[in-house]
């Protein structure tokens, strides 16, 4: 059996008639952690948006296969059920919806899609409690409205909490380090690292080195002007930090 989780071939995509991704090739195997680095405007967030199925982006060429399925034909919720998770750069506030209600609906919708029974209230609450402790979220957060009034660090911890709850095969972390102080960065990165197994993969999208000090990548790609201009091992991170993106590509 193939160990390929995600295969992107010649992916071209844009928004409002403007082409941003100009032909991306990327293969991600089980157990791997990939970093995608690049200057602002390179297309990093577009790539994560296209992978998660954001509807205002248009794919104009290429293919994306996830576990043998055509990812681009799937709705955002089907991608989630299949095991794709996007940690948002800017997590969305949902006034009036508590974290408990939000997660219960998400977890049970996935179980339903897979033909499983809904979790019993007790089982669900136990799972919530365990995963919240995992990212050091206080229990009272379960009653709070999703992301409403959260600090930057709390929002990102909430993303990793959701990742722990949904147990994805492929996690895409879009600028997860932005807005984090060092303590929150450690909690978030520690969470991601301990969720990682040889059966899963992670894509870390970031502008800076600092998150990669904690989540150590196997492969590093540099994205510039909609193309991957260099792929190498983790030593590339230090080179970028020392010489900048201008030195590459």
């Amino acid at each position: 059996m193939s160990d390929i989780l995600l295969e992107i071939k010649g992916l071209k995509a844009g928004i409002e008639g403007k082409e941003i991704l100009k032909g991306i090739d990327l293969t991600i195997r089980k157990g791997e952690i990939h970093a995608i680095m690049g200057p602002n405007g390179a297309g990093k967030s577009t790539l994560s948006a296209v992978l998660a199925g954001r509807e205002n982006y248009t794919v104009t060429g290429g293919s994306v296969t996830f576990l043998g399925q055509d990812l681009l034909k799937m709705s955002p919720e089907e991608r989630s059920w299949a095991g794709v998770f996007l940690s948002f750069q800017y997590p969305v506030e949902i006034p009036g919806v508590s974290i408990t209600n939000f997660m219960k609906t998400a977890v049970n919708a996935r179980r339903k899609a897979k033909g499983q029974e809904e979790l019993k209230a007790g089982e669900f609450l136990k799972l919530m409690k365990e995963k919240m402790a995992f990212v050091q979220m206080k229990p009272e957060f379960s009653k709070r409205e999703v992301n409403v009034g959260f600090s930057g660090g709390e929002k990102k911890r909430n993303e990793i909490f959701q990742m722990a709850m949904l147990d994805p095969v492929l996690s895409i972390l879009d600028e997860t380090d932005s807005g984090l102080d060092v303590d929150a960065l450690r909690i978030v990165a520690g969470g991601v690292s301990s969720l990682h197994t040889p059966e899963k993969a992670v894509i870390v999208i970031t502008h800076y080195q600092r998150l990669l000090d904690y989540i150590v990548p196997d492969v590093v790609h540099v994205l510039k002007d909609g193309r991957i201009v260099k792929t190498a091992g983790r030593e590339l991170v230090a080179q970028i930090e020392a010489d900048g993106y201008d030195s590459i590509g």
Binding site: P76, E77, V92, I94, P95, G96, F102, T105, V107, A109
Partner: protein, 245 residues
């Protein structure tokens, strides 16, 4: 059999909570608790009078297909009176729903609050007309009015006309109205966590309507009505997604 019989008067010091529901089967009083009860069939009154230190909490629920209107004139005639009128309206198909609120602060030291929230779908139309009048000597009045509507289909219409007429100078009054659509960023966020699109919309709709449901004092009744509103909201979403094809 004159107009007088449609007035519900709440005597000094009394308080009453009522929930009135309109649906395809007409209008009916779901609950009435407290120390004052209207003499006539409760659902028929279109006017209330609040005497000194009396309190009225009135909740209207309008379900799709009700073909009803909500009309109320409220006179705060005794000092210390407090009025809360709130409502949820769910409109679909060819529904036409006028909501006419006329709240009159005739004496000092009274407070009133209005909160109406609705979802309009299909080719329905909801019109909110809300007026607050504060008489010249009704000092220390507190009067608030809010009307918010979410439009679910391209052919649904909403009109909202809040009006304040204030003749006293030492008062706190405000009104606010919004008309909008369900937020698509929220929907994408929920869908990316595996919540199906329709389910995401229902969550948004219920969280939008929840502040009105919170005015229902009796928790059993609140749960029962929440379940009915949930089911009606699901129908609205289902019909809206079907009409796209």
């Amino acid at each position: 059999m004159g107009e007088m019989e449609k007035i519900f008067s709440i005597p000094e010091g009394h308080s009453t909570s009522m929930v009135i529901m309109s649906g395809a089967g007409g209008r009916r009083l779901l609950s009435c608790s407290g120390t004052a009860r209207p003499a006539m069939d409760a659902e028929d009154f279109d006017s209330v009078v609040l005497e000194k230190d009396s309190v009225l909490n009135l909740v209207y629920i309008v379900m799709p297909g009700a073909g009803a209107d909500i009309r109320l004139t409220a006179d705060l005639n005794g000092e210390g009176a407090g009025l809360t009128v709130s409502g949820i309206y769910l409109c679909d198909g060819e529904d036409r729903l006028p909501v006419m609120m006329d709240v009159r602060h005739n004496v000092p030291h009274c407070n009133s609050r209005q909160l109406f929230k609705g979802l309009v779908s299909g080719k329905s139309k909801a019109d909110f007309y809300g007026k607050i009048t504060v008489a010249p000597d009704a000092q220390k009045t507190e009067a608030y009015q809010e009307n918010h509507t979410i439009i679910l289909s391209d052919d649904a219409r909403v009109g909202t006309k809040p009006q304040l007429e204030i003749y006293a100078d030492d008062v706190k009054c405000s009104h606010g109205a919004t008309v909008g659509r369900l937020n698509e960023e929220e929907q994408f966020y929920m869908r990316s966590r595996g919540i199906p699109e329709d389910e995401a919309k229902v969550l948004q709709m219920l969280s939008f309507l929840a502040p009105v449901l919170d005015f229902i004092d009796d928790s059993h009744l609140r749960e029962d009505i929440t379940a009915r509103v949930d089911s009606a909201a699901r129908d609205l979403v289902r019909l809206t997604s079907m009409s796209r094809w």
